[in-house]
Amino acid sequence: MSYSNASIADLVQPTKLHRNLYVDPQVFDLEMQRIWGNAWIYIGHDSQVPQPGDYITLNYGSMPVVMVRDRQGAVHVLHNRCGHKGAKLVDKPCGKVSAFRCCYHGWTYKLDGTLAGVPHMAGYEGTGFDKSDPQYSMQKLASSSHRGFVFATLNANPPTLRDWMGGAGDVLDNLCDRSPEGEVEAAGGVLRYEHECNWKLFLENLNDTMHPMVVHQSVVDAAIDYIKTLPEDSPRRDEAEIIPPFGASYEAFEATGITGFRYGHHYDGGKTSIHANYSVDPDYERVMLDAYGPERTREILTFNTHNTLFYPSLTIKSAVQNIRVVRPIAVDRTVIETWSFRLKGAPESMLRRTLLYSRLINSNGSMVGPDDLTAYFRVQQGLQSSASQWVEMHRNYGADQDLGDRLVNTGTSDLDMRTQYAAWKQYMTEAA
C-alpha cells in the first residue's frame, strides 16, 4: 500500500501505535525523508576536527556526508559526493586533507566544498560547462552547533538549533558545565553496535523505566550475589555504584519523573536519577568549586538526568558524559554508536569512569546492552504477528501536566512515548 497523510496519521493513536511503524519498509523510507530529512540530525562534536583539513565521515540517513574544518576554522557539513560522476570523495572514518581530491578523475575541492580544479579543462570549452557554477561543488547541508555539538539538516527552513532543542538543551548545557572550563571534547573512541531492530525501539527504551528491573535483573542479581561474597573492607568499586541502580524499584523510577518537549525531545530524572548516588571524586569536586563556587557547583552536580533524547538522532547522559547516536540502516536494522567525552580541566579519573560506564553498560560485550537488544529484537519478531495491529501505550494517559514549554508526568508514565509520537506524526504529515 502507499500512504496518504491521513493514513500515516492514523498509525499513531493517543494510546496505541500501529505495528507498521516498526515493520513496514515503506514507512521507514518515508521516515528517512520526512523525519531524518527535516529534523536537526547529530553529526559529531567539533573536537573531532580540531585543525583545518580534519574531517570525519558518516551517513546522514543513507547519504554519505563529511564534517570538515576549513582554513578559517569554520566547520562545514558537506555531501560526500563528487560533482562530476558522484563518487564519494573521502572514504575513511576520519583523516586530514589539504583539499578533497576525487579518486576517479582528480577533481579537487576546497575545504568549504567549492570546486577548485578540473583536469584538462580544454575539453569543456564551449560545452556550457561552468566550473564556477555551485552545482558542481560539494553541496552543503545547513549546520549549526551548540557548545561544540554539530547538527545538520536538509530542511531548507529549519527552526534555530536552540529553539529546536528547547528545554532539553539544559541537559546538553549541564553536560558541558560539568567541566570546570565549561567545555567537553570527544575522547576514548567509539563503540559501534549493530541492532537488529527498528530505530524507534531503541529510542522508546531510553525513558522506559518499567523495563530495567525486568530486563536487567540478571546482571543486578549477579553483581549483588558476588558483592555479598566479598569482605566488608573490600575497596570501593565504581561498578558497584553503576550496576545495582538498574534494578531500582518502580517507586524509585516513578520519583525520577519524565519531562517532554516540542519536537519529540524528553528526559527522565532531573532532581534524581539512577546516576544520582555516584561518589564524587574529591579532586574533581575541588576543581569544580574553584571554577564555579559552592552554590553553582551544587546546582550543576545535582541536576541528575538519566537519558535525554534529542529526537531522533542523539541521546545523552550528562551525569555520565557519554552519548549514543542513532544511525538507521533499514526498517529492521540500526547502528548505535557510543561516544565518550572528557570534561576539560577535570582529572583523568572522570574520563576513565565515563569509559568504564560505556563499556559496562553500552558495549556489545556488556551484560546490560545485550539484554535490552534482545527485548527489541523480540518486539521486532513479535510484531510480524497479525494477532493485533497495535502496540499499547496507556500508562498515565490523560495525566500529563502542561507547564507551557514542557509536559511532565511520573517517571513510570508513557509521557516519553506520547512526546516522541506527537513529533513523529507532525514530521510525517506536515513535512510532506
Binding site: V219, A222, G365, M367
Partner: protein, 178 residues
C-alpha cells in the same frame, strides 16, 4: 650468542593450556574457564587495532576478576533474556609462538625445568572462533596474546588480549568471551 629453543615439553604444556581454555569457551563453561586465570587476571578485547590502553580508550571487553565473577553468574541467570539462546562455539587455535622468540621461549623452558613460581612468558596465537547464537552463525578471527605466569607448578593466565581483525566494525552482541 646461544640460540635458545624451548623444549617440546614446555611448548606442549602451554599449548594444552590454550586448548583447555578454548574448550571451556566452546562449552560456554565460565566456571571452569575462570579457574585458568590468576586472581589478578584480566581479559581484554580492544575495539581498535593496536589499542594501547584498556582504561583510556573504550574496549569491547575489559574484565578483571570482579567482572569475570559477575559474568559467570550472569550467564546462568534464568532471567537473562540474551542468555536464553544456546551458545555453541568452536575455537581453532594455531600459529602459537612466543612473543620474543628466543627470550620468551627461554623463560618458559627454564620455568618448566625449575618449576619456578612467578616465572612468566607471553604467547601469541591466531584463532578462528565459529559461534552459533540466536539462530545465527558468526565467524570471529584474530590474534590472541596470553601472558602466562607459573603458579603452584602450572601455567595460569594473567592476561589475555583478543584482537579481532574486525574489532572496529559495527558488530552485533558478543555474548561470551572469545
Amino acid at each position: 650468542m646461544t640460540q635458545v629453543v624451548a623444549s617440546d615439553a614446555a611448548i606442549r604444556e602451554i599449548e594444552q593450556l590454550l586448548y583447555q581454555e578454548a574448550s571451556y569457551l566452546d562449552a560456554a563453561d565460565l566456571d571452569g574457564w575462570i579457574d585458568l586465570y590468576t586472581q589478578d587476571g584480566t581479559y581484554w578485547m580492544p575495539v581498535i587495532p593496536d589499542q594501547e590502553s584498556p582504561l583510556d580508550h573504550i574496549s569491547l571487553f575489559y574484565d578483571d576478576r570482579v567482572l569475570m565473577e559477575v559474568r559467570r553468574r550472569n550467564i546462568k541467570h534464568p532471567r537473562a533474556a540474551s542468555k536464553d539462546y544456546p551458545v555453541r562455539c568452536s575455537h581453532i587455535i594455531s600459529n602459537i609462538r612466543f612473543a620474543d622468540e628466543a627470550d620468551e621461549a627461554d623463560k618458559a623452558d627454564k620455568a618448566d625445568e625449575a618449576d619456578e613460581d612467578d616465572a612468566s612468558c607471553t604467547v601469541h596465537s591466531n584463532f578462528h572462533c565459529l559461534m552459533y547464537y540466536n539462530g545465527k552463525q558468526t565467524m570471529y578471527g584474530g590474534r590472541y596474546t596470553h601472558e602466562l605466569v607459573r603458579q603452584d607448578g602450572r601455567w595460569m593466565i594473567r592476561h589475555k588480549r583478543v584482537d579481532l581483525i574486525n574489532c572496529d566494525a559495527a558488530l552485533n552482541t558478543i555474548i561470551i568471551y572469545i
